[in-house]
Symmetry: C2
Subunit: 346 residues, 2 copies
DNA sequence: TGTTAACACGCAAACGTTTTCGTTAAGAAT
DNA sequence: ATTCTTAACGAAAACGTTTGCGTGTTAACA
């Protein structure tokens, strides 16, 4: 087992000083052609690579980005990571991932674990519990200590940092307007509880679309799912809530759901109630993931361009890291949504 | 912006030496009760946290695990990551993720990027291109340099390292035997090209099941999909290949597919050809992901327990990292598959 | 021959820790 | 009064780099 070779070892072997070896490898003009070649040859032979940790300590930069997300088994978040990794890697950065699992304390612990020198900056999406608690001290602290943050999707408006969001309001509005254009008059909304910022915005988009087409919104048509039904193995609860919605309002002819799962479950319930899609009732979901394309019928969705969000987040963070002196003001980038029409709409 | 405080700064403020501060914080008996309290109070006030990078350099351990996977937007891999992160975090480790995107060179580059001190060990699943090339020098080098590797799912048998695999052979066999038990006599196989180790093993399981029930295997019933059709937006090619299979063999009454996507596409084609599922034709797929549960009809699958694979991989790696002196022999852990029956089978 | 400039290299500090090994002073023991 | 012990702390090395600066050697020049 030939261990990693260090400058010191090379220096000893070649009877020169450590500094000389370092300079020779970096092609410093201070070093003679002779020794430079000798050192480089030796280094190549022994496959010398500078130790990242030592470099990080010296430069006070790790070239590593910390990502904190609520959940990784989720098409949206994994696409964001892919986007981040793509541009990070291109610029010589690594990404280190922490999962909050929607829990406030895990979010805090993960951030503290990484903030002590392991990374140069954060890209994160807030956990639901944090939004509920409204305790943001870990974000403020990180920023105060000079560790920049980029928030995406689930952002906190009070926190001064770069943000990348999707236009949830407009996206939802576009979707509902599409339903209206296709003849829907009684459109239900399946959404989350209000403390999830994106859910709230999408709800507002839904209301706005109705309003601008003089359709009266009805509280009975809005179903707010509590998060206990979000888990993959709690589908029955979700479905029975939806079933109640349909039974209480048998004349629903359109459904807008704030995520794929809600939309698919709703379609399932509709089929069970012998409604045909899209003739009797049409569906549009938010978030264009794996499920929508392969559903039967395939689901029309509002695509968030998750990978693009990741790419943009990484660009913002890296730019800030590499132009620290300039202290630019924080920006909020809005990624356009795109309506993808499939067979769940006419 | 109060920057991170260091031992040196505390030492200066309190007019003691750096060493004293360090000892005081670690409750060394060398330090008087008096100064110990003073130092600890000061440290708490300024929220002192030891710098991870400095510790890594000193201890020659980073407490970080490198994960290299072919793709992150994939239910299986993200579940594995979740498992790894779970036990890693519990044991005080971080995880840093590199994506090979199924490319050999990206796999190599990512590993080199991490191997220079950034991590203590790898958990990885080989890219397809690497399996095709059969060039494993980056694995051997890493191991030779004392950086342990744990391979999962797509493993290389020649490489001496811990491995976590699923029993692809038995899993496939169980699935096919289930089809046979439910009355299928003409069972097609939709699989990958042979260089993907898991695809090969699953194919062998299929053949073995047929053989042990005296059913003759027919080459015409085995469809090997080339990887160019694996991308999400190349579904048409995949579907037309499957359609040909069905048209050439109209009496197929069972299909075993080595992944979810193939199975779902096959079901879609079957529906298009006016076959009813599961009466006319039954389906079982490998890998229990998001799609299977939500397909119509829901797809029976062979579950790989991805998260458990991740957990086991992390346990193996961390155990080896923390018992380096003992030089235990390498083990291969087999995670049992589980047949999950849904509505695509009778 | 003496001065100077360029060249080639070594030294040492710095990044932030931990830890071993002194060192000092006070008090106890002889 | 002298030696010994012990408590409490400081100094310095080490982890692996990079880099500014000092220095010795050589060759060129006056």
């Amino acid at each position: 087992m030939k261990q990693k070779v260090t400058l010191k070892q090379i220096a000893n072997e070649l009877d020169v000083s450590i500094g000389t070896v370092s300079k020779a490898l970096r092609n410093s003009k201070e070093i003679s052609e002779d020794t430079r070649q000798k050192v480089q040859a030796f280094a190549k032979l022994y496959n010398y690579r500078p130790n990242n940790i030592a470099l990080s300590l010296k430069n006070r930069k790790t070239k590593t980005i910390g990502i904190i997300i609520p959940e990784i088994v989720h098409n949206f978040f994994s696409k964001v990571i892919r986007g981040i990794e793509l541009v990070a890697n291109k610029k010589g950065y690594n990404v280190i991932v922490g999962l909050s699992n929607e829990s406030f304390s895990k979010e805090v612990i993960n951030m503290e674990m990484l903030a002590n020198g392991s990374i140069d900056g954060f890209i994160l999406s807030t956990s639901k519990q944090t939004m509920l608690n409204q305790d943001y001290h870990h974000f403020t602290e990180s920023i105060n200590q000079g560790m920049p943050i980029v928030m995406f999707d689930r952002v906190i408006s009070e926190i001064p940092c770069d943000k990348v969001i999707v236009d949830d309001f407009e996206g939802a509005k576009k979707a509902v307007e599409q339903l209206i254009a296709k003849g829907c008059g009684k459109i239900a909304l399946i959404t989350t509880k209000d403390y999830v910022s994106v859910g709230k915005l999408r709800t507002q988009g839904y209301l706005s679309a109705l309003d601008s087409h003089k359709i009266e919104a009805a509280a009975s048509l809005i179903l707010k799912i509590s998060e206990e039904y979000d888990s993959e193995d709690q589908l029955e609860g979700l479905e029975s809530e939806i079933e109640n919605l349909f039974k209480d309002n048998p004349d629903i002819d359109g459904v807008f759901a704030v995520n794929e799962l809600y939309a698919l479950s709703a379609m399932k319930v509709a089929r069970k109630l012998n409604k045909t899609i899209p003739e009797d009732i049409q569906f549009i979901g938010f978030t264009d993931g794996m499920l929508a394309k392969h559903a039967t019928p395939s689901l029309s969705t509002v695509s968030q361009h998750a990978q693009q969000m990741g790419e943009k987040s990484a660009e913002l963070l890296i730019h800030r890291l590499e132009h620290e002196e300039e202290e630019e003001s924080y920006q909020t980038v809005i990624i356009e949504t795109e309506l993808i029409l499939r067979n769940s709409t006419q």
